[in-house]
């Protein structure tokens, strides 16, 4: 063969890109280090841990082949709903992030009166450079992995949220991250710092992307870093409802200090293929982390999810409840790791993954993993994979409820506990995603 097919060539980030030239020296250094790490790192072999279920080459693409892109018209519908929510006082602020290229803020001025910062990352690099320099790249960086390095080099703009010590943001801040249409690529990035004894609820919603595989796939590679300082209380809801020809890679890492609590709610309904990795490090005594995950697959969707609870301090507690509902020909793989350090004593860690299969032809994999280097712990994990219990369906039928409705009620019940952790107005919208998927069963 004299000519190489372009798709066979592994993509490397060129020495000069607009992003690599952007920002102050420390940031350019971080970007260059990320570029170097990405170019040097091998593509993870398929047999390698965490890559058994998804081909890593999926996330290698020549992003230079992608020009500026258009956005689906639908995003304004959601934006409008959330602007109404802002007007009605259901949320504190709304940030709309168009592919990391254009970031619009609503309500940020009002938050600023409390000292709370909601801004683009590029603006924060200028106006809050000490905070950003201190925290950015600390949890997700060139050493995390090849694709995290790719984001670290190529993110264009992102979002920064900062809550000063002792401040409670009493309503959710909503982030709407919109991906471009066919053949677009984006590298969304989020940095959140919740100060000592401060409180924040953040909704991070990922929408948009290519609607039609024939027109081309669109890609996103996201990075989220969240810091919860001492005695802070953070709730982070990640809603993934990307379009049907979108491929998503996302790494979330949070670190919480002494006495802090963190609630993480990953909800996934969208994308053709998604690999999402959520991790919380309990870094101070008494820190407490809860994760309530839910994904609902249909069609040919492929979900590959990881969770990590890393106990790095004494008396820390964590709990994971990750629920999966699959129909049609969808596939979910879930890997949940609990790591307890040698010097982290009297910790409690629980993990449960339940998979409800609505028809034959779906596939669910579940891999619980424990790395416990300390004997003074309470730890348990459990997983179930199975179809709906026919006896439960019969119970509802025996009360006159038709079979399809009985199944809908049982699935809604299965997800109810998870959705209870989500703010009211968002829960209604999520309820409609569940209902839509239950229309044909």
């Amino acid at each position: 063969m004299t000519t190489m097919n372009k798709t066979d060539v592994e993509y490397t980030i060129p020495e000069v890109t607009p992003e690599l030239e952007r920002g102050p020296v420390w940031l350019r250094d971080q970007r260059r280090a990320s570029r170097e790490a990405f170019n040097v790192a091998e593509v993870p072999p398929r047999g390698l841990h965490l890559w058994r279920y998804t081909d890593p080459k999926t996330f290698l693409y020549d992003r230079d082949a992608v020009a500026d892109t258009a956005y689906s018209e639908n995003y304004d519908i959601v934006e409008k709903i959330e602007l109404d929510n802002l007007k009605n006082g259901n949320i504190a602020a709304l940030a709309t992030d168009l592919g990391g290229r254009d970031i619009k803020l609503n309500g940020a001025d009002e938050l600023a009166k409390q000292g709370v910062v909601l801004s683009s990352l590029s603006s924060a690099v200028e106006h809050h450079h000490e905070l950003v320099e201190n925290y950015l790249y600390r949890l997700v960086n060139a050493r995390t992995g090849k694709f995290e390095a790719m984001n670290g080099a190529l993110w264009n703009d992102g979002i920064f949220v900062y809550v000063p010590d002792g401040v409670t943001v009493d309503k959710p801040i909503h982030l709407l991250r919109e991906s471009g249409l066919a053949r677009s690529s984006q590298f969304p990035r989020l940095l959140v710092v919740v100060g000592k004894n401060a409180e924040l609820t953040l909704i991070d919603e990922y929408g948009g992307g290519s609607l039609d595989e024939n027109e081309g796939i669109s890609h996103a590679n996201g990075a989220v870093e969240i810091f919860g300082l001492e005695d802070s209380r953070t709730r982070y809801v990640m809603l993934q409802r990307q379009a049907s020809a979108m491929k998503l890679y996302l790494t979330h890492r949070a670190q919480i200090e002494r006495g802090a609590s963190m609630l993480t709610v990953p909800l996934a309904f969208g994308a053709l293929l998604s690999k999402e990795n959520f991790g919380v490090t309990l870094n101070g005594e008494g820190a407490d982390s809860n994760m309530y995950g839910l994904l609902f697959g249909s069609g040919y969707q492929h979900f590959d999810n990881h969770t990590l609870h890393h106990h790095a301090a004494d008396n820390t507690s964590s709990n994971i409840d990750f629920k999966v509902v699959l129909k049609d020909r969808s596939h979910s793989a879930y890997t949940g790791l609990i790591r307890i350090d040698n010097d982290a004593r009297t910790c409690q860690a629980y993990q449960e993954n339940r998979n409800l299969l609505l028809n034959e032809g779906v596939r669910a994999d579940t891999i619980p993993e424990l790395e416990i280097l300390n004997e003074d712990v309470q730890c348990s994990h459990g997983a179930t994979i199975g179809p709906m219990d026919p006896e439960s369906v019969f119970y509802l039928e025996a009360r006159g409820i038709e079979r399809d409705e009985a199944i809908r009620m049982i699935v809604s019940g299965f997800v109810d506990h998870t959705l209870k952790t989500v703010p009211d107005d968002l829960r209604q919208r999520i309820g409609t995603f569940v209902a839509q998927r239950l229309e044909r069963i």
């Binding site: 219990d389 026919p390 006896e391 439960s392 019969f394 119970y395 509802l396 039928e397 025996a398 009360r399 006159g400 409820i401 038709e402 079979r403 409705e405 009985a406 009620m409 049982i410 809604s412 019940g413 299965f414 997800v415 109810d416 506990h417």
Partner: protein, 256 residues
């Protein structure tokens, strides 16, 4: 359609579970206003019979007939049987996590009436029925049977019956697992529901519920068949002497 006087009747019912015949041809006619009791030792087929009549997927009726007010029940799915007026209070009610008692009852009533009940009427009705059955009002918002004690589950079964007001109620071991106070509460609920337009078939191992809910007829079931039928006095005799003497009688008959 010719309507017989009989309210609920089944004829020569055979039931199989996992390929094994557990009910071997039983027949019964129940008229409006009557209370019948089926008694029998464990494994005699009485729970299989009531589950099969309701349409449980694990219990296959291989032959026989069952009619409610002349309508052929065996042609109907379980939800259709319920809407036709048949009710089964389960021996072991399952927990349905995430579905509250109130939402469950509202969905059940909607399916029976063909439309949503008015919310405030529904709340009033539910509150009154719960109070009559000494069910704590907080149960309305709890997940159905999730973490309920045995007695609470049985009371909630009777609550469902009093809300749905079926024409024909099959009560499968509703007395098991109840202490004496709960037994009286449940029995009061059954008696309040009962009138001359409906009928009850109690399935029970012990006689004690029959002290509070008086049957007109008692049938003894053994080895998948009715071995003996009689009046309420039969239940008392079974309580005193157990089931052995019935079995002997059956064997003697067989020898003759």
């Amino acid at each position: 359609m010719t309507q017989s006087k009989a309210h609920f009747e089944f004829k020569d019912i055979h039931v199989e579970v996992e390929g094994k015949e557990v009910v071997k041809g039983v027949s019964l006619t129940i008229n409006h206003g009557e209370i019948h009791a089926i008694m029998g030792p464990n494994g005699s087929g009485k729970s299989s019979l009531s589950n099969a009549l309701m349409g449980h997927p694990n219990y296959t009726i291989t032959s026989g007939e069952a009619r409610l007010d002349g309508k052929n029940l065996l042609e109907m799915s379980a939800d259709e049987r319920s809407r036709a007026g048949l009710f089964l209070a389960f021996q072991y009610p399952l927990a349905i996590p995430g579905v509250t008692v109130a939402n469950f009852l509202r969905a059940a009533l909607k399916s029976h009436r063909g439309k949503d009940a008015d919310m405030s009427d529904f709340r009033k009705l539910l509150k009154a029925e719960m109070s009559d059955l000494s069910v704590d009002p907080s149960f309305a918002t709890r997940y159905l049977n999730d973490g309920f004690s045995g007695g609470e589950k049985k009371r909630v079964e009777i609550l469902q019956m009093s809300m749905l007001k079926p024409k024909m109620a099959l009560l499968d071991e509703t007395d098991s697992g109840l202490d004496i106070d709960a037994l009286k509460t449940v029995a009061d609920g059954i008696n309040r529901y009962h009138n001359d337009q409906n009928a009850i078939l109690l399935v029970t191992h012990y006689q004690r519920l029959l002290n509070y809910v008086k049957p007109d007829f008692v049938h003894v079931m053994m080895n998948g068949q009715f071995a003996k039928s009689g009046g309420p006095e039969l239940a008392l005799k079974l309580e005193e002497s157990g089931y052995d003497w019935v079995e002997k009688e059956v064997l003697q008959k067989a020898e003759v």
